[in-house]
Each structure stands twice: as C-alpha cells, then as structure tokens.
Symmetry: C2
C-alpha cells in the first residue's frame, strides 16, 4: 500500500507481447492497493533507429530538432502501454514529459531537470488512474522547447517523478535483476548485492556500471528517493539503493565496475610551469569535453608528460583543440590511445580498511597486467589498463577481494555462476 | 513576396531523399523573399504502421491513447524537415500542433479546430524563421490532451495556419498536380482545372474526390484562405480554389467525382406513416453513422421501401441498429449492398443550365447502365450505380459533357491523356 513509481527500459517494452506483460505487472501492483506511476523508455532500438534516420537526412542534425525527433519514441511506447492497461480494465492515462511537468534547462540532448510541476500526475494518481509518463524527455523552462535528458535519462525521469509524487519506492526494471559485485557477463562468480548506498552507486555509475544513470542516482540521493533495481522478467527481489545510514548491513567492498568507453590522451614534454594545467584543460572544458582521470608525471629537465582519459565520443571535439594547445604551450606533441579500459573497485568500507588498494594493485600485478594510470577517491580505486586485459583484471580482483564469498552471503551466491 | 503556407503530404516526405527535396523547395520559396510556414504529414505509411502496432497491442485502442500514438508520426517528419532546412543554411523551427496553438474539441480521432493561438508561429515567422508545423494534430481546449483531426487532417491544419498568419496563399502539395475534371486514373482525357470555387470543391470533396479534405475546404471558405493544389514532384501550376466572385472564368461543369466507399441499405416494406423516417434515421444518427443519399419510393398498399447510402466503415455500427428498427417499425426486412458506386457531376454553372441533369442521365442510360438512386443539389447531380460500372459511367459522362474540350481550353488539354 503506497505510491510506487516503476520504470521500464526499452527491452521491457520491445514489442506488443512485452508491452502486455508490463501492463499485467503494473495492474498487479495497482490491484495490490498501490497508486502506480509508470515511466517508460522507447521500444527496443527505436531511439537508435530514429538517430539513424536523422543522420540519413542531415550530416549534423540540429540539436533542437533531434530532440523533437527522439521524443517520438517514448510517445509511442507510453500510448501503447496505456492502451494495454486500459484493456485490462484499469483506467490509465499517458503523459509526455512536458505534460508530466518535467521542466529542464535548454541543453538539447543532455538537459538537466530544473523544476518538477507534476500537477497532472498528482491529480491523475489521486483519481486512481495509473499514470504512464514518457521517460528521457522534458520541456525547457524559457523557450518551451522539447528537450531530452541524454542516454539513460528515463532513470532520471523516474526518480524525479518519484520525488514529486512522494513515492515510497522507485522501481527500476531492467534486463539484469540488480547490482552485482561485477558485470556477470565477464565475472561468472559475481554476486547480486542486496543493498548499495547512494555514494557507492554514484561511484559505480561514474565508473562504468550501466545499471543506473549517474544523474538519476544524484537526484535520488538529493531528494531521498529509495531505488529498487530489479528485473522485469522475473519476480526476484533486486538491489536497493538507499542512504548509508539506512543500510541493514555494510559490505567493505560494494563491487567492481569496468569501462571501455574512454581513451587515454598523453601530451608529451610539456614545459613544467605554473598554470600549464589550466591552459591545457580550460579549452577542453569550454568545448564540453568530459575529462576523467588526470595524471601528471614527475618533471624531468623542466618538462613533464600530462595524461588523462576522456570519452571516446569526445575525441572528434578534442583533437583540434589538442593540436592547438600542444603548439601553444610548447609541448612535444600528443597521442590518443583508444585501446584502454578502466577497472574500478568501489566500497564505502575502504575508508576504514586501508589495505584494499594494495590488494587490488597486487592482484593486477600478479596477473602480469600493467597499470598505466591510477586514481582514487575515499571510496574508489580506479586503474587504467590495456582494453584486452579487462576481463582478466576484473576476475583476479574479484577473487582477491573475495567478493563471491562476501560476509553477507545471502543465498544468491553462485546464482549466476556459469 | 508575402506569406506562404505549404502543406506536404506523406508521399512528399516518404524518405530522407524526399525530405531533402521538400527542404530545397521550401528554401527556394523563402529565398524568393517570402515568409514560409510548412505543414507536413507523417512520412509515407507511418500512420498506418502505427495503427497496426496499436491493434497488435489492443483489440480496441483507447481513443485518447491512439491519438497520443499517431501524433508521433508528424513529430518525426517535422523534426527531419526542419533539420534538412537548417542544413541548407536557413533557420527553421518545428512546432507540434499543440505548440502551434491548434486548439480543438475533445473528439479524439476526429477533432474539430475551435481556436487558433498561433503566437509562436507568428513570432517565428516575424524572426525570419521557416516554421514547420505538424499536420493532423492539435490539443484539446479543456483537458489539454493531444487530439487528431482525422484522415486528411493535415489539409485542415494548413488552411487553419494560413488563416491565422494571414497567408497570401495556402499551397497543398500532393501526388497529383491539381483538381481534374475526373480522376485521371480512370478517365485518361481528364483535364486539369485552373480554378474551382469553394462551393464546387466542397461538393467534389463530399462526393469522393480525394484531393482535399472536406473540412479544409469549409475552413478555407469561412476564413477566405486561397488554396493552390499542386504537385510536389514538379513546378507546374496547379488548381486554385477561390471565391466564386474571384474566378477569372467560370466553367459550367467543374468536374466528375466518384466514390466506391459507400454501401446501399434498403429497408423493405416500411408502413407508410407520418414520422417513420425519424424513427429510422434518428437511432442511426445517434450512433454516429453518416447517412448520405436517402430515397423513399412511392407508397404501394400503405407500404414503402426506404433506401440510403452510408460509408462501408459504418456498416458494423449500423447493422444491429437496423435489425432493431426493422422490427420496431414493422418493416419487411433490410438489405445491405456494398457493391455500389456513386458518380457525381459538380458545377456552379448548372444553376443556369438546367439541361445538364438530362445529359447525365441520358449518357448513363445510353451506356446501358442502370441508375439506382439519384440525388441532386443546386450544383451537383449524383447517381448510384453498380460498382463494376463506375469507370464506364465516368467515361461516358465525361464525353457527353465535353469536359475534355471545355470552353476554357488552356493548353493543359491532353497533358495527361494516355
């Protein structure tokens, strides 16, 4: 009994069959006495197909118009889900992002929610209707244009709606049934977590775990929205994302994330002068390039190498800037290496267990894998290695940290073992 | 130099290639010094594919949700057309029906425009932007829900926008290059008209000519919007739909329309009493069945046969009502005959040339074709015949009325002859 927000991703509403199954699941939750609001993504690969269509028409699609185009995807899925629920005898009503009151800034393609005016959603729930909201989309504050929240934005929509309607839980339905100690596709011994703290989930998402979009976790933490990540294909309890103080048990290590979407840039032989880092990173930031790990090697003869990682998708934007600035700062040149992977170990318990970093480095070294960059936070250790070694690195670290046999064994152990 | 509204149908924006061609045509009009607003339909068969999808999900799709679904189609096409125009170096901006201020009643699937609040369109045109508006859709006055205007509704959108922005002309681009004296697919000698009056076009549309939706012609007449029907595949001058008093020349006969979308119902041996017609037609009207031609034969022995036509799509709704009322009024029974066609001759000049009807009947009789029902207005004669005879009937009437060699021969003669 309460208010539940359920979010279904593209694979959960891939076709008519899947849509009817989602409808049954939603109606079950309503018949159990809950008020239910459902956030859905576009069906299957609709968004990719619309992007392909845009590129067939235009070499560089206008951002405002691309958002207008892409939002057609969720419009289709909310209408179909709502039809299917109505057919089951429960009144349902669909709302676009704009109708649901999701107000964003003007950044087409990666808009941020700046206000929630969910009056229509609140009223429809009060009328005992099941509300279907289009994920991923909003309307801009000043120009009243349609915007999108970026890849995975439906998670953020769900959390924002959950905060606005004061939901008891925001259930994120996906094709995995929770957050694992590592990606089960490359680590057969990976174990599902019962709980993960917001802080750990933030680091996991930022480090490449794809289960939840980073921004949705931030939003949930800031607004105190409890998230339950679970599978739309079974009834298994998934993973709860909660405040650290609300956790029933606290593991030392939450899990391992890996990321092969970044490239490594090295600017060689940069004169080692005050302010040189600003001159390097300011123009990249101004161009919207997301710099991740930065290391500056020890200076030798007044020169130093600066290395950092950036998303591969930003290489095209970064390259001309790098060419300019290498000349400007008098550097020896630069290299871009796309064949890297980042392996990150995340755990709030690391704050009180200083030996974890050494264990991680040792496990990787024992496997003969070279670590190229290291970066850490109080609850995260990240290592850049060759992309070809990523699975082996995850396996040896998972073994060394005994994540398969965590102190919180809860019966899930081995469930996903190959 | 002026304000032009251009409307492109689904075949004109069927794919990326077609969309880029439309974009060039639009930009040409803008570069010639005009302010241009473009109304587009959904790409190719998108609307039909979305309807199929709806039926795969739901046996009887919820009307509100079906409108939410279908409006995704124009959303896709406006975004793509706008991208293509932006690529040609002219600023363009797309608006949904709601954003363009098209306010309708609540009748999902066949909404009527009740107000135009085209502030955003007017402002964007004043800013020298090319404005792209989604056809076929609006937003309901009270519930703020997305609505659709019914099949062919994009024509109405175009005319309504043209009225709202005080356009000099509303150009309807289609896959034929104008209004013909008959459908060129069945009458090779059909001749394109230079001008047709609103009244004639209303009768032509109501009689089955598919070139313009009836409601768009009504709207244009009521708001004094000049329509130019022309082909998106060439630069040929099309047909102008204008006020009768603005016509440069007035033909006696405007053209022949035919319609095979109706069925004929005959209720047999109805007691010939006052009020019986009301008892027959009131329940059909209440069920939303569109009755067209009605004839009541001479009474014989206190009983009469009542025949009328109705759209074939309304048969399912009409049949149970007919069964009831045949019993109620004590009729002998009823038959539904779907194998009929209606051939109509339309011309404002008929008012002053009373011999036209006789010519039409004689031509059809000479061809050995039986006329089953006749109905006339001051500018129209319609005959119901067997569906199998429709092409021959059109041909003989076209010949008899000398429509291929009209007094206003204007060089188009024979352009489309086989």
């Amino acid at each position: 009994m309460g208010i539940i927000v359920q979010k279904y991703g593209g694979t959960s509403v891939a076709g008519p069959e899947e849509i009817r199954r989602v409808a049954r699941r939603v109606v079950d939750a309503a018949r159990a006495g809950n008020k239910v609001c459902v956030v859905v993504s576009a069906m299957g690969d609709t968004t990719d197909r619309l992007l392909d269509l845009a590129r067939e028409v235009s070499p560089s699609p206008h951002p405002r118009e691309q958002d207008m185009l892409l939002t057609a995807g969720e419009r289709i899925s909310i209408a179909l889900v709502s039809m299917a629920i109505n057919d089951l005898g429960h009144e349902a009503v669909s709302f676009t992002g704009s109708q649901a009151g999701i107000v964003t800034d003007e950044s087409h393609g990666r808009a941020r929610i700046v206000d929630m005016r969910a009056k229509r959603v609140v009223e429809a729930l009060a009328d005992d209707k099941i509300v279907i909201v289009a994920g991923f989309q909003g309307v801009s504050e000043s120009s009243k244009d349609v915007t999108t929240l970026g890849r995975g934005g439906s998670d953020t929509t769900a959390v924002a709606i959950a905060a606005a309607v004061k939901a008891d839980v925001c259930e994120i339905y996906t094709d995995v049934d929770g957050v694992y100690t590592a990606d089960p596709r490359i680590e057969p011994k990976a174990r599902k977590r019962r709980e993960v703290s917001f802080e750990e989930m933030l680091e996991l998402s930022a480090s490449g775990a794809r289960v939840l979009m980073l921004r949705s976790v931030e939003y949930a933490r800031n607004h105190g929205v409890k998230i339950h990540v679970r599978s739309s294909f079974n009834e298994t309890e998934g993973t709860w994302i909660v405040n650290e103080e609300d956790m029933l048990e606290q593991a030392i290590i939450s899990g391992i994330a890996h990321d092969t979407s970044e490239a490594k840039v090295t600017i060689q032989s940069v004169p080692d002068q005050p302010g040189v880092a600003v001159r390097v990173f300011r123009p990249l930031a101004d161009a919207g390039v997301n710099i991740d790990m930065i290391v500056q090697n020890v200076s030798a003869e007044g020169h130093t190498d600066i290395s950092f990682t950036l998303p591969k998708v930003d290489i095209a934007a970064a390259e001309p800037i790098l060419t300019n600035l290498a000349a400007e700062v008098g550097a020896g040149g630069f290299t871009i290496d796309p064949d890297i992977a980042k392996v990150s170990v995340i755990g709030a318990g690391m704050k009180s267990h200083p030996g974890v970093a050494a264990d991680v480095f040792e496990a990787i070294a024992d496997a003969g894998i070279n670590i190229e960059i290291i970066s850490t936070s109080s609850i995260r250790i990240s290592c850049v290695i060759r992309a070809s070694e990523v699975q082996r690195a995850v396996n040896v670290v998972h073994d060394r940290l005994k994540l398969a046999e965590d102190i919180h064994l809860d019966g899930d152990l081995g469930e996903h073992a190959a």
